[in-house]
Amino acid sequence: MIGAAIALVVLATLLIGARGVAAIRTTPDFLVASRRISPTLNAAAVSGEYLSAASFLGVAGLVLKDGVGALWYGVGFTAGYIAMLALVAAPMRRTGALTVPDFAEARLGSAGLRKLSAVAVLVIATLYLVPQFKAAGLVLTVVSGTPYWVGVVVAGAAVSVTLALGGMRAATYVQAFQFGLKLLLFIVPAIWLVLQVSPDTRREALAPVEFTRFDHPTPVVFRLAVELTITEPTPVTISGQPPRLLQPGHYTAATGTTWTFAEGAAVPGVDGALPPGGERWSRPLLDPDAAGYPLLATLSVLVATVLGTMGLPHIIVRFHTSADGRGARRTAAITVALLSAFYLFPVVYGLLGAVLLPELFLSAGTDTVVVALPARVDTGWAGSLFTAMLTAGAFAAFLATSLGLLLALSGAVSHDLLPGATVRRLRLTTLGAAVFVVALALPSPHLDVGVLVTSAFAVAASTFCPLLVLGIWWSRLTARGAAAGMVVGLVASAGVIGAGFFLAPMPGLAAILLGQPALWSVPLAFVTMVLVSLRGSPPAWANAAMLRLHLDETERSRQRP
């Protein structure tokens, strides 16, 4: 049933894509055809491309793992489009630039800056893609019981096949359909879950109790090795062996084992994870790893997501299908409303998960809570049906975002970084990029989908946000200043996040400043750009290059018919 549901998603997507392609053929030029698309349809397409596996699975998973404060992710993801609407959408559309590297060259006339922007695209897209593949692999693992690597490879194969069949992403209709599909597949199961669970569960979801004892014999499947801390003698059955009484101490649950905890047993502790339902878990602020600075951590995530949205390589290209600057602005405004509808629902999965599946936090499997819930609530056909719906939705989310990002990534490699592009090379680069991302996703099953995606936002916020905002609103920006600011922003965000993977976890404040650098790396990049620009002088045409981005189209065409 689940395989059928996923196949159905892919098939429906391809069919609609084919229709879109047929419609395109009747017009002289795809870009002219696409300019008839209304802001509402285009906003649905933007939302369709934007809602990734990180939103579909990750936010609810983070609620289960880090607490109610994780809901700020959804707020940040939505609020980003207000910054986009106010600062970027219309002028960006008027440049005619499809990507940030394009914009850099159009506004500042520097080929070097284009290459630098392409490097930033590369970093952002990779940071964004790896968690998508991880999530897709994990979901396939959970619903089919295969090892993690099989899931990732199957996800990679699905993307490659869709790419080879071609054109899927080209049409706005496909992405708009994907948005409708994802919204339906997310909201309907959520409503069913709320109605299906007992009134007691509903009450408990709103007034959670800390998960300290197993209230029924609970099997916990460890798909990854996890360090457990046991604080009192705990009866456990490990993978069908005779029951044992574990004495207090540190234990390692090996990969692939199932530990069945007896009823009434104490819940072991896990490093870096919070048992759901506790006082700290219930606070509506983010405090990962108990660093002790919840307000700072929350603001850091918000700054990254709000300012990073405008630099996402797969989203900017979508705004180009608007008729003009005004259409792009309307698209951004409607997108805020559409995303708001979606992000009202992750909380349902997170809170119900904390009551019904709190043991997921033990096995580092919180990202699977969305697809695991229906089976926990109903073991009959209805449970399977809703599991299939949610799996299909998660897969749709994965496909939509991954394809957009893969194309952005291979576009940056094959025509910004290397000279002389051909369609053949673009296609090969795309396949190569898919293989590269699969290779990166294979060893990273431990990484949090939501956290890694936020890193991508942080890099976008520290590089493209200052470039776009200053490029659009400040005529004194020079190519040299922009380059210096981007390098500083890239090193401060990507460098610090990258170093975090290799260094030991830091305590307290350092953990937040290094794990979520946006709070200081974005201002640093802005200041660098401004100071370096002020030391030089922009070319004579810079003022006109900036000002024409603010003239609305009808005005100009009247001047020069």
Binding site: L31, V68, T78, L295, L302, R326, H415, W473
Partner: protein, 119 residues
């Protein structure tokens, strides 16, 4: 007989890839007619002002709300229909506010264009 120019039909990405043959040198330097330039200056100034107000309001919301929840932990204990107020403040409240803010800013930005940049 009028012959239509043949155009390659491609996806935006492919189109983009194929269009990128040019190297660094700009074909035409951007310029504006003097009348356009003056109007563009007015629009730019007015749009910047309005955009900054919108961004400031957004900042008040997304910085103010977490700060409020951090300063008043007792909001966790106050419940409306069984739901803690502080949870509503993060799970539900921001979305209608964001949607209204988007609508408001859209109206204001379009107003500038309708009035031809006159104050």
């Amino acid at each position: 007989m009028i012959r239509q120019r043949r155009v390659t039909v491609t996806s935006p990405q492919t189109h983009l890839a194929m269009a990128r043959r040019r190297t660094g040198v700009r074909a035409d330097l951007p310029h504006l007619a003097p009348a356009d330039l003056e109007r563009a200056r007015r629009i730019h100034r007015e749009q910047l002002r309005r955009a900054l107000v919108a961004v400031a309001l957004l900042a008040v919301l997304i910085i103010g709300l977490p700060a409020l929840l951090s300063a008043f932990p007792w909001l966790d204990k106050v419940r409306i229909v069984g739901v803690p107020v502080s949870w509503l403040a993060v799970a539900a409240l921001p979305y209608p506010v964001l949607a209204l803010l988007a609508r408001w800013q859209l109206r204001r930005a379009e107003q500038v264009e309708r009035h031809r940049g006159a104050p």
